[in-house]
């Protein structure tokens, strides 16, 4: 279902204690696009992601994913919906007592009736798709490097061929080369699998190379929303500093030279 909002966030308020982190925020994510969500540390990017997938309670507003309102959904609808999205957590959140292969198979094992042979083949296929070798499949999460952990987590998020993947800072903690590879990987997978990607990130490079659209969070709201060109023209002070500051500026220059 391309070009239709698959995630609809309306008037969302989320807070802890006395303060509201998200203050009447509204956001749409269109099917088939890669949306990058940026903002200062503590601006509520991860809070937004966790609220959409139902891990945090909201105070006000509504969230609709793939046409299902999570508040009004019953248990069965919720479970069905959860099968249609995949989540990559910031730290990977791999199950430490299972091997890499078993981690990827876990959603398949729980949700589908598959023969062990097919499950093995699919798990290895997904691992190959994210760029891991067969030798890595039998390792335990504790034996993996940071980049490999992220790749396995992505393979697990993709295990059931979801329609939406939520990525929480997928490239943080990776070296620039791995991060670049990862961006490219997400781009390729998005094209072959027709995914919708909701990506929380800090990485300017990712925004330039991977994202179709960018939403900037500040003061609990979306203050700028659009492709990279819109960001560069924005008058909002934070957006200006972010995209045209020292690091952002470098990328702009390079972009100009490349074009």
């Amino acid at each position: 279902m391309p070009h239709q909002p698959v995630i609809k966030v309306r008037d969302l308020v989320v807070g802890f204690g006395d303060s509201n982190v998200l203050d009447h925020l509204s956001l749409d994510v269109t099917g088939g696009e890669i949306l990058g969500v940026v903002g200062a540390s503590g601006a509520g990017k991860s809070v937004l992601l966790r609220t959409i997938i139902g891990l945090l309670p909201k105070r006000h507003g509504s969230v609709e994913v793939l046409g299902v309102d999570l508040d009004n959904a019953n248990e069965a609808q919720r479970r069905a919906l959860e099968r249609r999205w995949g989540v990559l957590f910031q730290q990977g959140a791999l199950f430490s007592s299972l091997t890499v292969r078993e981690n990827v198979q876990f959603p398949m094992r729980e949700n589908l009736v598959l023969s062990p042979r097919l499950m093995n083949e699919m798990a290895l296929a997904k691992l190959e798709m994210v760029g891991l070798s067969r030798d890595d499949a039998n390792k335990f999460p504790a034996e993996l490097s940071g980049g490999m952990t992220k790749r396995v987590a992505l393979a697990r998020a993709l295990a059931l061929d979801p329609e939406i993947v939520f990525l929480d800072e997928p490239t943080s903690g990776l070296d620039p080369i791995s991060a670049g590879d990862f961006d490219e990987l997400i781009r390729t997978l998005q094209q072959t699998l027709g995914l919708t990607v909701f990506m929380v990130t800090h990485d300017l490079e990712s925004l330039y190379t991977a994202c179709d659209r960018i939403a900037v969070l500040a003061d609990g709201k979306v203050v700028a929303d659009g492709p990279i060109e819109t960001m560069l023209e924005s008058k909002h002070p934070w957006v200006k500093t972010y995209f045209q500051g020292k690091r952002g500026g470098m990328l702009v220059d390079r972009r100009v030279v490349n074009v």
């Binding site: 007592s97 598959l114 083949e121 296929a125 504790a142 061929d161 094209q191 699998l193």
Partner: protein, 377 residues
């Protein structure tokens, strides 16, 4: 599922397949059976074609099964033709074309007898390794003690007091309760059985000697191993998992001196204190039962107790306590440092810590029994 995911038609030497419906994860189980059946039909046909035009949904599961089918045919010497696949799904099939090319590695075949022997061998080596580990920890603690003796200002006084509060002070109520009950039970059993010979008075000897020499210190040590030993292992283990111990080391601190020495010292001090309190509670419980159940007045109980026990019995019990504390501390901390990255290993090591320290406490008690018997105490 009313859909015909895959139908086959054999006309002469030509096998024609028509795919329809959702070739997705949800139907992968059914599809696999169908695909495997069709793959077996290939030898009958000279040429095969598969029409994907009727497929409404297609994902990696469907793409892989299609790829598996074409590989099976290709290896049987046929050239399958795929028609009608939408353009955007072709990329997916191409992606799948590249995967699972290496044959799966055959699982290492292992002789069952060899496996059993290897397990025994590994177990034996494990015992030896544990022994080395504990000796190593004991040595490290010894070094840390010497260093602290030379420079007393480096001793972690605050941390030690904090640990003492948790290990000794907060354990007092439960230790008092348990030993009180054990003392009462021993007295009741003694009175019940000695009554047959008219020797109820000797149950006081039983209670006094058994508790002061053996039971008091054993119960307390087992309680502390379960209560504090496990928490030491879990604490140090999760610090290890979160690289806190490595961080300490890089800042020039010795983890043994900072984390382990205070904990072990606290156990060495706490165990005699708790043992003393426990013994008193047990004697009190025994006296109460003797009075209420055996009809023995407190005066008689106390005068019989002073005759039955001597300072020697008390000393035998108390001398053992700090050593048991040392054993519990060494085992708990050594196991904590063995924790690897996974949550499972934290659980395993915590269990191992409690089991091993209780075992060693009992072994140590046996060794002390031999020692005291031979020196006539």
């Amino acid at each position: 599922m009313g859909e015909n995911l895959l139908t086959s038609k054999l006309t002469g030497e030509r096998l024609e397949l028509a795919a329809a419906g959702s070739w997705t994860a949800a139907h992968a189980g059914e599809l696999e059976t169908l695909v495997d059946r069709v793959a077996g039909e290939a030898p009958a046909a000279k040429s095969v074609s598969i029409d994907m035009a009727g497929v409404s949904e297609f994902d990696t599961f469907g793409a892989w099964l299609l790829e598996r089918l074409t590989r099976a045919w290709t290896s049987a010497g046929r050239k399958p033709v795929i028609v009608g696949l939408p353009k955007h799904d072709r990329g997916l099939l191409k992606e799948m074309h590249g995967v699972n090319r290496e044959p799966p590695r055959p699982p290492a075949s292992e002789n069952r007898i060899v496996g059993a022997l290897a397990a025994v061998g590994r177990g034996g080596a494990g015992v030896g390794r544990d022994f080395m580990l504990f000796a190593d920890m004991l040595g490290a603690v010894g070094v840390a003690v010497t260093r602290v003796l030379i420079r007393p200002r480096e001793f972690r006084f605050t941390s030690t007091i904090n640990q003492f509060d948790r290990v000794a002070w907060q354990a007092v109520p439960i230790i008092l309760l348990i030993t009180f009950l054990i003392g009462g039970i021993i007295a009741q059993q003694g009175i019940f059985h000695f009554r047959k010979f008219g020797a109820e008075l000797y149950s006081v000897d039983l209670v006094g000697i058994l508790i002061l020499r053996e039971i008091g210190v054993l119960i307390v040590a087992i309680m502390v191993a379960g209560r504090s030993g496990s928490s030491y292992t879990a604490e140090i283990g999760s610090m290890k998992m979160r690289e806190e111990i490595d961080a300490l080391r890089t800042m020039g601190f010795d983890p043994v001196e900072v984390l382990i020495l205070p904990r072990i010292l606290v156990l060495i001090v706490a165990l005699p204190v708790l043992t003393f309190l426990g013994c008193m509670a047990a004697l009190y419980g025994g006296g109460l039962v003797a009075w209420l159940y055996g009809g023995m007045s407190p005066e008689i109980y106390i005068s019989r107790l002073t005759e039955a026990i001597s300072l020697t019995h008390f000393k035998v019990g108390m001398v053992k306590a700090p050593f048991m504390g040392l054993v519990i501390g060494i085992v708990a901390c050594a196991e904590g440092l063995q924790v690897k990255g996974s949550a499972e290993s934290l659980g395993l090591k915590t269990t191992a810590s409690v089991v091993k320290s209780i075992f060693l406490v009992i072994v140590l008690d046996g060794l002390f029994a031999i020692f005291f018997a031979s020196i006539g105490m």
